[in-house]
Structures are given as C-alpha cells and as structure tokens.
C-alpha cells in the first residue's frame, strides 16, 4: 500500500477526538506528523480529499423529512436548473444523471426538512423559479444501509 492509500485508510474512518489526532494516526503508520500533514494537504489540494468533517445523522439532528426528487428537465436547461437547486440550503446534493427508457428524469436533488411541508415548500419554490413541472418526490420510507465508503 502506498503512503497515500494508508492515509486515506486512516481518514475514511474516525479521526481520534484528541488535541493532536494526526500525530497519533501518523505514529500508527510509522510516519512523522509533518509527513502525514504534508500528504494530507496534497490530497486536499488535488481534490481527492474534499474535506475533513463531522457527518451528522440528519434524522437525529431534527431533519426527519427527507426526499430524493427526480426532475425531468429539458437538456438545454439542465445547467441553469442545477445551479438554482444548488443555491438552496435545504438541498444537500444535486446531480444530473443519465436517463433510461421509460425513465426520463435527469436531475436529482436530495431535499431535507423538519417536516413534509418543508419539503413541499422547497419543491414548490424550485418549480416556480425554474418552470420545471415534471418531477417525482421519492420519499424515503425505510433506511436499509447508510455508511461511508471503505476504499482501501
């Protein structure tokens, strides 16, 4: 395993909650803290590492209503729709995806709120702003799995 892979492996799980967590992770890999942070900085500047952060279980943080909304957006308006959706704080993820026969929806937004009414409000706002009227609200009914990717 390369040093980069070893560092990704150290960070794909939990970093220790102590004052100098990288010193400890580095020691576990036989590296100095300086080397570890150097590679970390490199991964970040190359965009391999988006960021270090706390990942919250949104339901436990009070966001009990969550829906994936699939939108049918004309191809030439996908970009402006994507930008309008991305500007909304209640939308965490927005992607344009390939369509399939019988499935014409090309834009996907993850919408979070404290109630179903919150979700409806966000969707109605986006309809009004973009004029896109064909969409499906795919409410999440049951969570079977939610975890982070294990790379190495």
């Amino acid at each position: 395993m390369t040093r980069k892979q070893a560092i990704v492996r150290a960070l794909q799980g939990d970093i220790p909650l102590e004052p100098a967590p990288f010193k400890k992770l580095a020691a576990g890999l036989g590296l100095t803290e300086e080397k570890f942070l150097g590679t970390l900085g490199e991964l970040k500047s190359r965009g391999v590492l988006r960021c270090l952060r706390a990942i919250v279980r949104h339901k436990r943080a009070g966001y009990s209503a969550n829906a994936m909304v699939a939108w049918k957006v004309p191809g030439n308006r996908a970009s402006s729709f994507g930008k309008a959706a991305a500007a909304l704080p209640a939308i965490s993820h927005c992607y344009e995806r390939l369509t399939r026969p019988g499935w014409p929806y090309n834009l996907y937004t993850m919408v979070h709120g404290r109630s179903r009414a919150d979700i409806s409000k966000v969707v109605a706002g986006l309809v009004e702003k973009t004029g896109v009227k064909e969409y499906l609200v795919l409410e999440s009914l049951r969570e079977f799995k939610k975890t982070s990717m294990v790379y190495f």
Binding site: D14, A20, R57, R97, L98, R142, K146, M149
Partner: protein, 150 residues
Amino acid sequence: MATRVEKKVLDAAQADIPAVSRPFAALGAGLGVSEAEVLKVLKAYKKKGVIRRIGGSFETRKLGFSSTLAGARVAPARLAAVAEEISKFPGVTHCYERAGEMNLWFTVGVRGSMAGVDRKLASFRKLPGVEKCFSFPVKKMFKIKTLFPV
C-alpha cells in the same frame, strides 16, 4: 436543545475541520471556543449518535473508483430480503426503500472502471424479486454539501 456553543461547533465541524496539527484548536479559534470545549461537544454528540463519523470526505472518482445510483423495482414481498442481500456488498453505501414505482434505491461503488459497477448490478438483477434495475450514473455534479444546522 443544543446550546449556542454546541450549535456553533457542530455547524462548523460539518463544514470543514482544518488539516493542521491542532485541528480542534483551529476550529475553535474561529468561533471563540476553546480546544477542550470543541472536543467535549464533538465527543458528546458522537456518543449520542447525532454525529455518525468524523473523518475524511473523499472524491470517489479521484481515488480510482467508479460509482452509480441504481433504482430498482422489487416485488414488495421480496423488498427487505433483496435490500439486505444488496447491502451486504461493501461498495453499497446507501440503500433506501422509496415511495413510487421504483421502490429500492442504492449506490454502488467499485475500484476500477464502470464496467465493474455494471457487473455488480447484473448480479443484483438476478436476485429473485428484482423486476428491473437501472443504473443512473452522474453526468454532472452541481452540489455535494451536507450541512444540517442544529
């Protein structure tokens, strides 16, 4: 209810924890909160289960992985069994039952090219009860920012 300090720490920690020798001191410095207090809040919310993980968020593609979102129609009587079987695969990180014709949605990531993802999906399509299963790979990413103000 979160206190004002807890709220500040949790909101900032969801955005970006600095990649420096004393990250929690650096995070706190921007908020006027001590390193000890930052650690205390994060530990408490981790213990409560509000925080699932504190670590790196990676760009899957740049690590040489391919991934997709899959939507499937599964016979309702077989839904839970199929979801459990699919979820056994480590590259499936999210798996949800959703309302609508396509009632099971999951992500699949594998090391290497999209052909590996497609092979995995082909094996899922053979599970009893799976009536159809489409792959919807990303054409363009507009936003990934999960931040839930507490």
